[in-house]
Amino acid sequence: MPLIEAELARRVLERALQRGGDFAEVFCEERSGLGLAIDESRVERVQRGSERGAGVRVVRGETSYFAHVDGLGEADLERAAGTVAAAAAGDRAQVQALEAAESRPLQEIAVAPSGVPAERKAELLRACDDTARAAGGEVAQVQASYAEGTRRVTVANSEGRFAVDERTRVRLGVQVVARRNGAVETGFETLGGHRGFELVADGAAESTAERAAGIALTLLGADPAPAGAMPVVVGGGFGGVLFHEMTGHGLEADHIQKGASVYTGKLGEQVAASHLEAFDDGRLPGEWGTDGIDDEGTPTQRTAVIHEGRVTSYLYDLVRARKDGVASTGNGRRESFRHLPIPRMTNTYIAPGEGSPEELISDVKRGFYAVSFAGGQVDPTTGDFVFGVSEGYLIEGGKVTKPCRGATLIGNCLDALGRIDAVASDFEMKTGFCGKGGQRVPVGTGQGHVRIGELTVGGTAV
């Protein structure tokens, strides 16, 4: 069911284009969610929220005019459209007849989270707390959080697009702190998806807590990380954050068009070894970054961004696609009705290669094994990046030996991408939140084990 009638949508678009513009769009959203946490073995920070609102956009030439309002009443929408119309002026586009709003669900939600009693979610967190604490006497703190949310969106634009989508997401995060003598280490694990409550049921939540505790306990024996250039093996799943940051962002068309990306002008060029295949796929069933349509109403798709080591596509929203004379790749996303859509990744991953992770490691005499990251930052213009390693190990004589603490990976995107010399056949997707231009959207990151021939590890052991 659309959040607004087609007839009202058409009137709002007409009003927005009253004083001119090439394109108009109204984005309506209704969202509700529940979040709770356990800390010090006590369930707390329980919160519910609900919001309804709309954003109206007019594009004229290279300029976007945008206004957003809380509320979905006719008066609210008219007000937003009027504000935008007052700013935009010039030649005027005709509003095309709206298509029939069609839902494109990609995932059956087996158990709607809103239908599960909240007390059951509190129980889930208590089970996580118990499981993590039972993992070892050195577990000192356990924090776990559960969040569920449903977003219903309706998009209508002057080119006739009229589309609806309903997105239900569930996410669990567990953080465990372990202490031994003076050492304090943290383990973190998440489980999330464009899924219902079934994702975290049947022991899945407890396994997540167990893994978080396992990481913290393992790291207790860690030595300071080495410093210097060496081969680096990046783990599967969350290791994909590295690719997300060092390549994904650089392929977003807004950076490309401004010349603010090291991948500008690299379309069709060889940037990686010929065995490297990578995708952005907004349609992977049940994944965290999956949606039926993007936030401009374009159906999501699977886009090959690197094929045989060559750049094969950038990631587009409508505005940037129009500028390059191509079709949107369904990557126009926004945090909420309060934000303008911009090119964003959905689920981004390096496709699995050949061989096992062990084989990949066995060729390394002395190197670093980065299993998971606490976060990272990249300057798309220069390509310089930095990643904080949350779980890392030393590789000696082809084997993973000691855990290391305090490591940072530092380098340059094109250089590091070009040095990927092996991708293993294992594969896993993980959940994350990606920030850009002040907007936070859910993204999936994934890969199998990946080896980078040489990268600088910034450790504390100088």
Binding site: L34, L36, D39, E40, R42, V43, E44, R45, V46, Q47, R48, G49, S50, E51, R52, G61, E62, T63, S64, Y65, F66, A67, H68, D70, G71, T83, V84, A87, A118, Q141, V184, A225, G228, A229, K258, G259, A260, L340, F373, A374, G375, Q377, D379, T381, T382, D384, V386, F387, G388, R405, G406, A407, T408, G411, N412, T456, G458, G459, T460, V462
Partner: protein
């Protein structure tokens, strides 16, 4: 307008009480804002933002709950009240969870918090301001080849709060800021630099200076190389010093301390830093963008010295952490009015307001001379993923310049600086004599800082 918000807050409190809450508090926020992005002499986007909502916190027998919403009519508020009560019933009881009580103190007046001159600026003038920034960046240095958007943002915000325990208040505030990122290129090397400015209205912004700073930061780094790995004196420029000080401020929040997540837990009254360091949380400084007459739970604000000449003298509290501290034997513990929230969508939690690092006697040049041979750091990346908040150890990516013979020398990038917060604080040997406001990771006024020794990892 404020009367209307106060009425909404009052009705929200009543709806939570009617739904079964023992106590309730409501925070209503109404803001209008504008964001202008300019690229290549053209407006890239112009956003008019209107936002209005309420957050309701309630307590039932020491169980706390929270709900928020944007439907502010009778029916909407009744639903939010019911949601808040539902959430409280799921929470576990916490003996310290209770409504904050009013102690009768009046909230201070903060001169200039609401600058009426903002209303006098037309959209066209604001667009011109953003264009001036872009032009200034391009014209400041011929090696600047591009500007990745010049951004201007302003906001006018109204807040009202009410509670069943008699706390009530309202205020209005304005803010404006601008920033840009310049791209410089020379001989195949590319570097970026950020310029920014902030104030209570566009009157307080200097667009030429914002553009010039971005250009200078980018152009200065051209030709940067990895410095050699070593342990040496390090000078942090105010933007970098602010990032670290903001991080340290977080570890001095009582919430982190009480839950065993601060390397400074149990160290009140101890010397934790060199005598050169004095840090104060100042919630009513008119120049601080996080200033307000009362905090997010209605307590009148003031200032709290945190580190005085190296001694840790206080943690930051809200009413919950103060109550908890009292129960642990600190009878005199009181809220420092540091309950903060990102907006009506998030419940209050303890946070810094504006942090002020005291300036020292030496000028910046003297700081460099004292460093002798070392590294001047002008930007760090990955601070929030690179610092372990529990143990305080960190390793972050950095860019800047070498210091040779007491003067700035060649640019340096792709290196890391590593230490732990405690060692870093004790190794501060001097603070420069001029401070600057930095709006990243909080609202912080700090001078450049000289550290006697830090591990630098490069080539």
């Amino acid at each position: 307008m404020s009367d209307e918000l106060a009425r909404i807050a009052q009705r929200a409190v009543e709806s939570a009480l009617a739904a079964g809450a023992g106590d309730a508090e409501a925070y209503v926020q109404d803001s209008v804002g504008r964001e202008i992005r300019v690229f290549d002499g053209q407006v890239e986007s112009l956003t008019e933002a209107g936002e209005r909502g309420v957050g309701v916190r309630c307590w039932i027998d020491h169980r706390a709950g929270y709900a928020y919403g944007t439907e502010l009519g009778e029916e909407g508020l009744a639903g939010i009240g019911r949601d808040a009560v539902d959430t409280a019933r799921i929470a576990d009881a916490d003996e310290f969870a209770a409504a904050p009580s009013a102690d009768g103190a009046a909230a201070p007046e903060i001169p200039g918090l609401h600058d009426p001159s903002l209303a006098g600026w037309t959209t066209e003038r604001k667009i011109e301001l953003a264009k001036v920034i872009e032009r200034a960046a391009r014209e400041a240095d011929e090696r600047v080849v591009g500007v990745e958007t010049a951004v201007y943002v302003d906001e006018e915000q109204r807040v009202a709060i009410a509670s069943s325990t008699g706390l009530a208040g309202a205020f209005e505030a304005t803010s404006a800021y601008a920033y840009t990122q310049a791209i410089a290129e020379d001989g195949g090397d590319k570097q970026t630099g950020l310029g920014f400015g902030m104030g209570r209205s566009p009157e307080g912004l200097d667009p030429e200076e914002v553009g010039r700073e971005a250009a200078e930061r980018a152009a200065t780094l051209l030709g940067a190389r990895k410095p050699s790995s070593r342990t040496c004196p390090v000078v942090l420029d105010p933007t970098v010093a602010a990032s670290f000080v903001g991080f340290i401020g977080g570890t001095l929040c009582a919430d982190a301390v009480q839950r065993g997540r601060s390397p400074f837990a149990g160290r009140l009254g101890e010397v934790v830093a060199s005598p050169a360091l004095t840090v104060t949380d100042h919630a009513t400084d008119p120049a601080g963008l996080n200033s307000s007459p009362f905090d997010a739970e209605g307590t009148p604000r003031g200032q709290t010295p945190l580190i005085q000449a190296g001694e840790l003298v206080a943690y930051l509290h809200d009413s919950y952490t103060a109550r908890r501290q009292q129960a642990q034997g600190a009878a005199g513990a009181r809220t420092t009015a540091n309950a903060s929230r990102a907006g009506y969508r998030s419940p209050p939690s303890v946070s810094t307001s504006n942090l002020i690092v005291a300036t020292g006697a030496k000028g910046f040049e003297e700081l460099l001379a004292e460093a002798g041979d070392g590294v001047y750091v002008t930007d760090v990346a990955g601070l929030h993923s690179g610092v372990n908040p529990v143990s305080g150890t960190f390793s972050v990516g950095a860019t800047g310049r070498l210091i040779e013979g007491g003067r700035l020398a060649a640019p340096a990038d792709e290196f890391t600086i590593a230490s732990d917060l405690q060692s870093m604080l004790t190794s501060i040997t001097a603070a420069a004599s001029e401070a600057r406001w930095v709006p990243f990771g909080g609202s912080i006024s700090t001078p450049a800082l000289l550290l006697g020794e830090m591990a630098v990892a490069g080539s």
